[in-house]
Amino acid sequence: MGSWFEHGTDADSLEESMEEKGGPDTRNMSADAVEKGIFETRDAYYDALHEATIEVARRRVDEAVDTAERDVVNAVRTLETLNEQMNELDERGRDWEEDTDRVPVEEVKVAHEALEDARDETREFLEDRTPELAPNLSNLAGPVLAARLVGLAGGLDELARMPSSTVQVLGAEDALFTHLRGDAPSPKHGAIYVHPYVRGTGADERGSAARAVAGKLTIAARIDRYAGDLRPELADEMDEKVERIRERGDG
């Protein structure tokens, strides 16, 4: 338990001291370090501290971003699986409705409720964690779609590097390849279809809405990757843009 420089003055010593979760009794580190002759001057102390804090923070942040990314991508895949299973059970349940005495209706009901609980928990997890990883993307797309896009792209970094035309059709790869073979028109939207601004726009203008939404989500992903602060004005810009597209469709 002590100051970070007591067993060395590099990043490893600093990280170790942080993991020990203790500090010195008096908080005069810069003066103490000079007094003990570990550094010649306060400036030298701060220079070493600067180098060490940057290295440790970089290490830990990279690790945390990887973990956070893996967590939300796993969670959104789990959510999809749970939804599929519940749908399947619902369908089978309807087939069985007339046969209640020969099938375990109660047990199936219990299983369904367990799936529902798991879904709610998973969704809550996404609502907590996705905004930490990608605050702007979550704000514009909602945490579930945001996590889905990160997963489809293979990471936030990859998503931030994509042109918005690619983001627009992420998750519609099958349709895209059919189109590229010349067998179909180009897909207008992939996973972003579930966004209320895409799904809720009339068919005539839906392609334009999808393009506008994809454009804003791409900007959001880039800000999340390269800046990291929440910019509420992005949502206002997207609102206005889609509003204009819809008015055009009505006229």
């Binding site: 001291s17 942080m18 203790g22 701060y46 501290l49 600067h50 804090t53 923070a57 800046a227 990291g228």
Partner: protein
């Protein structure tokens, strides 16, 4: 060195000498510290004395590092704590451009994580978006020297959506009295709606 004031579009703004970190305006060679982009700038414009010049500062909730970069332009040392990975990543980039800005990827609710690193400070500046903002200020009181200043930004809505903002600010100020002597509560509107800062002195 030190915080200066510049005139832009007929208004006076705080400004510092240093490399730009975002797309902030530069006037007379100084980075404009805009009250709509930094709550600390809003406080300065509101006439609050934030004694960061040549001071040691503990900054909790450093975000992507924009406001800490201004502090680091004028302060002796700035310890910047941030726990959300995406902003922290950018904070580290910003810290690379400032020799006296020390990034700490840690949870401000657990000061033991950085207590081997952070020295006694003259100013505690806190802008964390979690519940229990007063508790964070209390748990970190040990870093603030006797008579040092604590400036705690309170976002009314992250505490309780039903209460009146003023009640929320008072509640935080009241709790802080355990370790601080509260001087005033400064509303940050119109620059930031539903935000105020509790300005207090450390009393042992």
């Amino acid at each position: 060195m030190g915080t200066k004031w510049v005139e832009m579009d007929g208004e006076r703004y705080p400004a510092t000498e240093g490399d730009t970190v975002r797309d902030e305006r530069v006037v007379d060679g100084l980075r404009v510290w805009h009250p709509r982009r930094s709550k600390a700038a809003a406080l300065l414009v509101r006439g609050v004395d934030l004694p960061v010049d040549d001071a040691r500062v503990l900054y909790l909730g450093a975000g992507a590092g924009t406001t800490p970069s201004y502090f680091a332009d004028v302060a002796r040392a700035v310890y910047a704590v941030e726990f959300a990975p995406s902003p922290a990543s950018r904070l580290v980039d910003v810290a690379e451009t400032r020799g006296r800005l020390f990034p700490l990827f840690a949870d401000a609710r657990n000061p033991s994580e950085y207590s081997s690193v952070v020295e006694g400070v003259d100013v505690l500046y806190q802008d964390v978006a979690t519940r229990g903002q007063a508790d964070v200020a209390l748990e970190n009181a040990g870093f603030v020297r006797d008579g040092g200043l604590a400036c705690v930004v309170v976002k009314a809505r992250s505490e309780d959506v039903t209460a009146e903002p003023e009640e929320k600010y008072e509640e935080v100020a009241e709790k802080m009295k355990e370790e601080y002597e509260v001087e005033k509560v400064v509303d940050l509107s119109p620059f930031y709606d539903d935000h105020a800062a509790v300005v207090a002195r450390r009393q042992r």
